[in-house]
Symmetry: C2
Subunit: 389 residues, 2 copies
């Protein structure tokens, strides 16, 4: 298998983008990525597109050929494939794209992700998101994602002594980071008091513990590492990719505080990379709810199981901490257009590793990890990127 590099990234602003359609969004992100990679669209060999539920959000399935069409590339007739794995759709699309380049099958591939969520009501969007949970054992009985993560949070508090203040610190930190990101959905600081006093959504999670419903798209251009310098000065190597699954329903798991899909994917990625968690300089993790960031940093091995809350409280994951987490603002503040989220993480890491992250730059960042999960952890994909020597 060949070594693979990201040579270009692009994204739209995440947020409630009422003046742009799904096709406008992904075309914008894709064009930005191509320009960033110094590549003409006509040179692209294939595309992978992550989207969770375009069929329900905007009444449009079959969006992979639509992406090629609206990028003005219909006459090339190149293969284009949509990946759906709930909120991990984007990350898995990136993985598939990397695999086809690594295998030697293609030389230049675009991985994109898109979701247009605000064309339907918030209630309908919540119901659509719930299709990522087990419809027969969870959704049918009225369970939605805030409820599922509230169960996890409650159990984590009971088992490890994690506190509401520690959860709140995740939101406070990610909003602080989001202020520094021009593409973030929310660019305002919040305080722990605001998080703790916000309207309850599903106790112990309040409104400010939850990531928003966002529109947005992101894209990345991938080629063999050996060819990357032909296009750009600062290619970023894709060092490793790991993917895992778990039961769809929470009640089937031995321990709902541990995401086994994350552990499996991370183990595969760290083994492929030949490094350990301590060798990672920063990470984008899947903070769809504040508790999700806590379990993620535990399951990825950045801290011991049960110590994620304390580590967060102690500032370990802040921009100036030992391992900055969600420098982009994360799903919480950057926004969470579900199918785009995994690629949005890659955009942030590439900008950080190139030293182009502006006010949120992690100084000397050489190696970074992206962690993207679907649903309440039934699917997970982990990527490790680094500055090539």
């Amino acid at each position: 298998m060949r070594e693979v590099a990201v040579i270009g990234v692009g994204m739209t602003k995440f947020g409630e983008v009422w003046n742009k359609s799904l096709r406008d969004l992904f075309t914008e992100a894709g064009m930005k990525a191509l320009i960033n990679a110094n590549v003409s669209g006509s040179k692209i060999n294939a595309m992978y597109v992550g989207s969770m539920s375009a069929g329900r959000f905007v009444g449009q399935e079959h969006i992979a050929p639509l992406v090629v069409d609206y990028a003005g590339l219909a006459e090339t007739h190149i293969p284009a494939t949509r990946i759906e794995s709930a909120c991990a759709s984007g990350g898995i699309a990136f993985r598939e794209a990397c695999m086809t380049v690594a295998s030697g099958m293609y030389d230049l591939v675009v991985a994109g992700g898109v979701e247009k969520m605000t064309d339907i009501s918030g209630g309908e969007a919540t119901e659509t998101l719930a299709t990522a949970a087990d419809q027969e054992w969870e959704g049918f009985f009225g369970m939605t994602f805030p409820g599922l993560y509230a169960l996890i949070a409650t159990r984590h508090m009971h088992k490890y002594g994690t506190t509401p203040d520690q959860l709140a610190e995740v939101a406070v930190k990610n909003h602080a980071n989001g202020c520094l990101n021009p593409n973030a959905h929310f660019r305002r600081k919040i305080t722990a008091e605001q998080v703790l006093e916000a309207t309850r959504v599903a106790d112990p999670l309040g409104l400010l513990d939850c990531s928003p419903i966002s529109d947005g798209a992101a894209a990345a251009v991938i080629c063999p590492l050996k060819d990357a310098h032909k296009f750009v000065e600062k290619p970023i190597r894709v060092l490793a990719s790991g993917q895992g699954t778990d039961t769809l329903a929470l009640h089937e798991r031995a321990d709902i505080c541990t995401m086994e899909a994350t552990r499996y994917a991370a183990k595969a990625a760290f083994a492929q990379a030949g490094i350990k968690p301590k060798d990672v300089d920063l990470a984008e993790v899947h903070d769809c709810f504040t508790i999700a960031e806590i379990t993620a940093i535990e399951d990825l091995g950045f801290v011991e199981k049960g110590k994620g809350g304390k580590a967060t409280e102690d500032g370990m994951t802040r921009l100036d901490g030992e391992i900055p987490i969600n420098t982009s603002g994360g799903l919480k503040a950057k926004g969470h257009p579900v199918g785009a989220t995994g690629i949005g993480q890659v955009v942030e890491l590439v900008e950080q590793l190139r030293g182009e992250a502006g006010k949120r730059q992690v100084s000397g960042a050489k190696r970074a990890l992206a962690h993207n999960i679907g649903g309440s952890g039934a699917s997970c994909v982990v990527h490790i990127l680094e500055v090539p020597e």
Copy 2:
């Protein structure tokens, strides 16, 4: 890249399967494929699952981990990825699975496809299928697939003199083949008169020109060709795979009688295989409507453009013809559970190439082609399978 083989196939009966859920269907097909391959589920490295719109048909997205879960393999945590490309979802899932084995990444992969379409009304199902067309330029204005294919049929008749009798012959032939297939949705012969006199759906297409709305699932087990004899006596080599795209909306195409995605995918597959259309002994093609089989055999190169109707009338594509087409009964009679269709085609070809197709066996079949399209031809995937020497 390594050579790849199919070592096991399985499918449910296609039809209105009201006593089985989506998860029952794919579990049944997957178990049959594993048993057929003499493989334990615990040895599988990864899964790819094709499904067009489980989110709208049964309110369940995120079905790839669900497949692993309900196959009893959640504890393996293996990667599982859903592919969506409308009615080509199954064929592209098969392609992705083959690619990961060819690349050396995995040694044993299951490709599956599933759709449970009859839990909603026929009207709702038609509306959901229409999400595979261009929502903004076709679906929004009330266009559905019978209408789109009626435009193609009308133009084909005008341009090439194709007749209603020739279209009817496609349905008559495929129903005759379906009678010989225990898994077919329809197992009754029909006459040309019945096709011509059937209720009009979208002129010139009547009810019997249209494939049905079906439930069903199919699966295939894939491994490197060099290892295949460890599992089974008669592995089938995957000789080639090609994938292509085209504009989503019909009005953007220079010629609606030609599916450029098919031509692109076929060209790629024939080049990879190093053979010509005349070297193929039989084919399963995407006959979602009778006209679609006519354009398919033209675009695949089995007959000249414009001569598909005449060739069909002359018996070239019958079970005892020069190149038998849709020996399984095709989408028309075997049924069309959209996400499963592409894998269902592979099941038929593997049974034919093993000499296990019973009364519909094509004698001496050594090489066969599967052609699976999405929507009105915006995506297409072509596979060529053969008996290894």
